[in-house]
Amino acid sequence: MSRKSGGMAAYVAALFGFLYLPLGVMFVFSFNDARRNVVWRGFTLKWYKALFHDAELMSAMLTSLELALAAAGIAAVLGMLASYAMVKHKAFRGRGAYDALLNVPLMMPEVALGVGILTFLVRAGYELDFMALASSHALICLPYTVAAVRARLISLQESSLEDAAMDLGATEWQAFVKVTLPLAMPAIISGALLSFTVSFQDFVTSFFVAGIGIVTMPIKIYSMMKFGVTPEINALSVCLLLATFLLIGLNAAFAVRPDEASRH
């Protein structure tokens, strides 16, 4: 038994090695004192220093942060309202259609989404601006926030805390503000963090929908790659990776455990 699962553990370790090899490579070579990437020439922090002195890069970073904040904010509001109606309201006509439609952005190939939005906006004479891109990102993020908030609202439903509040004389609005919203907040935050991650690292949609003036971080990295290999990208990637770890950790802290809400 143990010998057999030992072989399997080795296989799983090898597979994880494959998944983490690129991340490890970028980490090691971000400290390498050589322009050519493959030979180790000693430890340096100069690529990290170069990052913070690169004005274009810093402005791309800022753009991406603003974009991710806007997209996560929009998606959180849309997702909260939509999932509230889907979970709390009594069955209404068209609910199944909404249900199916809210998941479409997840299955839609990003290339199709990107060229579709590009074509529509250009044909409609709308300039490709920051709002257009943020709205497109919000659309991609919407299924994530809906899934997170919905799961939470369903488990709240089972705890019937809202019903208790209303039995005690609260109006629906008061019950929402005092009970539902605070209890749903961890799920809203968790959905928003996922959205933030999705938007921050999105390349394909931005590639098509960002106008000429908007340079996000992934677009900047892409253009740096086109100019050739530079260790600065490794340093940048490590920073982005650490940010991702942080976001995933935060998300794990906020994520709703299915049994949690019904325990009240």
Binding site: K4, R36, H89, R95, L113, E172, F203, I221, S237
Partner: protein
């Protein structure tokens, strides 16, 4: 004010539900339905000089997509998606099995660990693979150092690099549905098979594997369909010689300025997606 909001939240009228769903619907209509409808409409139009659009309807863009110049792209896209799905399934099944039955208290950590490369930027991971696979990259250096090679091989910009990139990115898409369905296999049924004298392999092939089939199919669908529309992998690891459908579409919109043809290609991609999902649902019902 409070009364109106209570009416909205109470949802005793369908109108209240539709109003709460209105903002999300607005996004879905203007950024998903109309753009997709627009592309389908545009796919029947004609391309004029300088990227102008001539509204003469016909099937010429679709005919062009299947002419010998572009047919290999469609074929290649299909082949790469199929190959990726098979490799992911073969590599991913033992992993999902291990996560379900053997990982014990490491299970959650491993599940999160599986998702981290997926959540970190794909662009950045592919950049790293460029460093590993390049002519002067790690793989070549290592192979020469240990005497397996005398000359560096160009791993980059080959079908091998593309397949590797696709498998790298889509592996979690296969593993998670597999894990979800293996997790539903009742342990008691497997133990019953052991008690009845089945060996390890017999129990697996006669009990566990058939019960995990829904996950196998779901994993394949969730890998194959996104693969059809993949764009970034070939853009970075493959190069123009191995353009897939996604790259061809991008080229029509960003370089060639032939939007009607690009729309026809996108419509084909969407048709493949809808067809695939339809087949999947038909299988699920059967």
């Amino acid at each position: 004010m409070g009364k109106a909001l209570s009416w909205l939240l109470g949802g005793r009228r369908p109108l209240a539900s539709h109003l709460l769903l209105a903002p999300a619907s607005l996004w879905l209509i203007f950024l998903l339905i109309i753009p997709a409808g627009g592309l389908i409409l545009l796919s029947f139009a004609k391309n004029g000089p300088y990227g102008a659009i001539v509204w003469e309807f016909g099937l010429h863009n679709y005919a062009r997509a299947f002419d010998p110049k572009y047919l290999p792209v469609l074929f290649r896209t299909f082949a790469f998606a199929a190959a990726t799905t098979i490799v992911c399934l073969v590599l991913g099944y033992p992993l999902a099995y291990y996560l379900t039955f053997r990982a014990g208290r490491w299970r959650n950590a491993l599940l999160v660990g599986l998702m981290v490369p997926f959540w970190s930027s794909c662009l950045v991971a592919y950049y790293s693979w460029m460093i590993v696979l390049g002519k002067e990259g790690l793989l070549n250096t290592a192979l020469i150092r240990f005497g397996f090679l005398s000359e560096p091989i160009g791993f980059l910009y080959t079908p091998f690099a593309i397949l590797l990139g696709l498998v790298y990115f889509y592996l979690p898409f296969t593993v998670l549905p597999l894990y979800a369905s293996l997790d539903k296999v009742p342990r008691s049924v497997v133990e019953a098979a052991y008690d009845l004298g089945a060996g390890r392999w017999t129990a697996f092939w006669k009990v566990t594997f058939p019960l995990s089939l829904p996950g196998v199919v779901a994993g394949c669908v969730l890998t194959f369909i996104p693969c059809l529309g993949d764009f970034l992998t070939v853009e970075i690891l493959g190069g123009p010689r191995y353009y897939l459908l996604g790259n061809l579409i991008s080229n029509q919109f960003m370089m060639a300025q032939d939007w009607p043809f690009g729309s026809a290609l996108t419509s084909l991609l969407l048709a493949g997606l809808v067809g695939g999902l339809w087949l999947y649902q038909a299988w699920e019902k059967a």
